[in-house]
Amino acid sequence: MSASDSRELRIVGFLCNWCSYGGADTAGVARFAQPTDLRIIRVPCSGRIDPLFIVRALVNGADGVLVSGCHPRDCHYAEGNFYARRRLETLKRFLDATGIDPARFEYTWVSASEGQRWQHVVTEFTRRIHALGPAPLLRHVSDGAWFDAAAPAAAGPACPCHG
């Protein structure tokens, strides 16, 4: 796949400890080869994943964010992924308004036994992110502190209605 040929992109994964992290372990134990771009952050439950973690990662320049939890009804904490599903779906549908490509964020469910599924998810998501290319980055430097004449004009393309 193209993912392994080109430059690595920055993909952050948030995985629940009980299912998906285990699923990624299972994939590892089974030596299911995967692209190397993804870095996994382990959390106890998908219900612990604040959508703002995802936004923070994207604002900080992540090219993709992948969240995975237990399948609905299989949550170790009974309800965590039900809350997560609402939060994550809300974020995903909202992202378009921010100008961040919603395709850069995905969430899914992988159980501890689904090593193969995990391999598939990682491979597909990485492929998708590589197809999108590096994410455009918001400026992290304020104008006021130092004036950098070389910096692009702050006034970018305007909203047609707001001038």
Binding site: S142, D143, G144, A145, W146, F147, A149, A151, A153, A154, A155, A158, C159, H162, G163
Partner: protein, 341 residues
């Protein structure tokens, strides 16, 4: 010295000045007019007062103070002051009140203690202020010592005349700028400019007399009811302080970047609960009444008391005009003055 700048040359002047150093100018953007670091292509708008103040020229919202690096296996830190690079900074098209605002900083930042960041920016800044020909409903510069053609803190006064501006130098640095080729002879326009100034002064509403404010406000210090009523509609945001040309409260925070860290100074807001919250959980200014009291009293009582009567307010009216709920600082001071006779 008087020179003339054709209205049509304003952009050219900005473009040219921006080649050799930062230019801060009121820019029309998204329906708003705000001070921005000018880059060619931006539209300078002088017909109305910018909602933000030009204080970023001397006191930017974010000022990096220190950089700390840990290097080598021992990771011994080295600390370095990150002073702003030296370069002439022009504030083009502020109002006289905006230029006056930064003068409030002087006695504090260059008084008992010398703040090298402010000092350097102050030294490098050149203020070209436009005379106000007509007061807004929120303007009260004349009540706090200023005026529509006030020259305090101004290097060049731009006086609107037919077809452009008479550029009148106030300081030597200002005079130097006027040598720029885009300026023409002022000639007879100087007289026109004088008339504009006279008319502008005459157009100002009657002055408030705030001389008794310091003692009257202090006398109200313990009047909880007074301050609760005055602050009832305040929503404790920072629009007033961040718009204000004279507000200088700041925060200092560290950003941890692993081996590197930095310490930055950012505008802070005395209307915020966290501003004075102590580690123990105690807060000397726990309610918005306490905080509004401190804000108003600082400007109209404490500061004048410490600094020989100067009111820490330039009368630009931004805090009134842009307050989401229309808190009017003039009315509060008047109320304190009138209270109890």
């Amino acid at each position: 010295m008087d020179r003339f700048l054709a209205a049509s040359q304003l952009t050219a002047l900005a473009d040219d000045l921006a080649q050799t150093g930062p230019v801060l100018a009121p820019i029309a953007e998204g329906g708003s007019v705000v001070f921005r670091w000018y880059r060619p292509g931006m539209r300078i708008e002088l017909s109305r007062m910018a909602s933000t103040s030009p204080k970023a020229a001397t006191f930017p919202q974010t000022e990096p103070l220190l950089a700390v690096r840990r290097e080598g296996e021992a990771k011994t830190p080295t600390v370095e002051a990150t002073l702003p690079p030296r370069s002439r900074t022009v504030v083009l098209g502020c109002r006289p009140c905006g230029a006056r605002g930064k003068e409030i900083f002087g006695p504090v930042f260059l008084g008992g203690v010398h703040d090298p960041y402010f000092a350097r920016r102050r030294e490098d800044a050149l203020f070209m202020a436009v005379v106000c020909t007509r007061p807004e409903t929120t303007c009260f510069c004349t009540s706090v010592g200023g005026g529509p053609a006030d020259t305090v803190g101004v290097d060049v006064l731009l006086i609107p005349v037919e077809g452009g501006f008479v550029a009148r130098s106030v300081t030597a640095a200002g005079e130097k700028v006027l040598a720029h080729a885009l300026f023409a002879e002022a000639g007879a326009r100087s007289a026109e400019a004088d008339a504009v100034i006279a008319k502008a002064n005459a157009a100002m509403p009657p002055q408030d007399d705030f001389r008794t404010a310091p003692e009257k406000l202090l006398a109200r210090f313990d009047d909880k009811d007074f301050w609760e009523r005055q602050s009832a509609k305040c929503i404790s945001c920072g629009a007033c302080t961040y718009m204000c040309p004279t507000c200088y409260c700041f925060n200092i925070t560290d950003d941890d970047l692993g081996l590197e860290s930095r310490r930055i100074r950012t505008w802070d807001n005395c209307m915020s609960y966290l501003f004075t919250l102590e580690g123990s959980g105690h807060n000397p200014r726990p309610t918005k009444a306490h905080r509004l009291k401190n804000r108003v009293s600082h400007k109209f009582s404490y500061y004048p008391t410490i600094h020989s009567g100067t009111i820490a307010c330039c009368g630009c009216g931004r805090c009134i005009k842009h307050c989401p709920v229309g808190v009017d600082i003039r009315a509060i001071v008047r109320a304190a003055q009138e209270y109890g006779g």
